[in-house]
Amino acid sequence: MTYVVTDNCRGCRYTECVTVCPVECFHVDDTMTYIDPENCIDCGGCAPACPVGAIEPDYRLAADKKFWIDVNRKRAAETPVISARLAPLPGADERRQALGR
């Protein structure tokens, strides 16, 4: 198994996950973070740390979100590792409220 970043991260990118990842398996682009499934050790630390509930274990993803498994794998290979927290994207707090978080 692995943990997977899903759509709630887009446009928020709080990166709280990065601080608690013990193995630096988060990658980042302009819109969101991705988990490298090869390095993730399934510790589960990131899922509760995410302010918008964007991270789930792969087996728990709803059918219409399963595609994020492949997106994470592919984008993690194409994007740099992020090892320290970034400022959230502009509008992140508004988006979080809109998500009811």
Binding site: V20, C21, P22, V23, I41, D42, C43, G45, P48, E56
Partner: protein
Amino acid sequence: MTGSGELRVAVVGSGPSGFYTAEALLRSGASVAVDMFERLPVPYGLVRFGVAPDHPKLKQVTVAFDRIAGMPGFRFIGGVAVGDDVTVDELRQAYDAVVLATGAELSRTLNIPGEALPGSHSAGDFVAWYNGHPEFRDLRFDFDHETAIVIGHGNVALDVARILAKTADELRQTDIARHALEALTDSRIRTVYVVGRGGPAQAKFTAKELRDFLELGACDTSVEERDVTRDEFEPRNSDDPERIEKLSLLRTFSQAATTKPRRCVFRFGLSPAAINGRDRLESISFRHRSGAVEEIACGLSFSSVGRRTAPVAGVPYDTHRGVHANIDGRVAIGHSLVEGLYVCGWSKRGPNGTIGTNRGCGIATAEAVLADLADRRPRSDTPDALLARLSNRVARIVSYPDWTAIDAAEKRRGALLGKPREKFVTIPEMLAAMNACPRTGHATAALRYS
């Protein structure tokens, strides 16, 4: 500020929080060198001695620790017990800052009658024993009984129950210590009760740990019907996927048919009241939420009700929280800070969170260390003078290359048995493995006199 030159920091303890604090200091951009002190010749703390042998993926976090150990300015000083071989005050004289990362070694007790009876154990002792901790290797657990009780509903309780529920064949290819595998091979345990005070919604274990019980080869998992009402499995007013999954798993267990030779039974709403027996454990009395008392016969019990930090001589202790007394990572007596002394990880905030929680925690402590830099007092000693003295006090100062030799030897032993490693479980064995490797003598000399 004391002249020029780099900041010298001692980190005490080589578990996750020690490594992540070291990493944060070494990455800070400031001129810093870190000496990591460890009582044993082997690093990784609870990743080696706490994480269950059948959770190998979690142990891959050691790759990150090895990367940190390779950062310029990092030294491992193993085989030196702070508090015994060297005092905290000595460290404070030689280093600009001392960070305690000593974890939560002591098991909390139930404080009920009979707890000291033979057969009644703490889960922490059992975990350290099956993981081959040298200080726990000689403990004896008597598996010549049909029933075991695990008291507590946290992840450690689940680890203990799972190890008891698995067959020797299910454990054989893990890095479980050989003495533990041999003892468990002859286990007669057929029923394991996992007993907690609260209901299903209050259990602290995580869904991920609970899922492991779906995979047991020779053990059925169930929930005692009398303890819960149907609606206690409903995640009322919660959209938390973790909570929904946990309750759903417990509901599944409550409905499962039992066909396998062993069974693991989750019990809810029972507080331990007394441990009974004439010469050894015979039963445990629990008080139910309703007030009724229930006595469960058993031959073996493990209490898993939390841990606390072991006090270290010269460091103020917060008895209430069970940690080194501190204000956000700075050691303090009341409101007054103890200069140059810090804490991180479980010895700072108590035993909670995942391995990665210690990364954020270590970063915060490192920030406190660096923020106080400008006010640091002059040191009256140097790390290398201290290490030279220490080399006369201890059998052998163990460097990271020394550990690498031990590691390689353990993996070679394991490969012969189809295990990821066969741990050395005594300190003389560890030192012998390290001495058998020709490169390490030189590396240790380099450590002492650099």
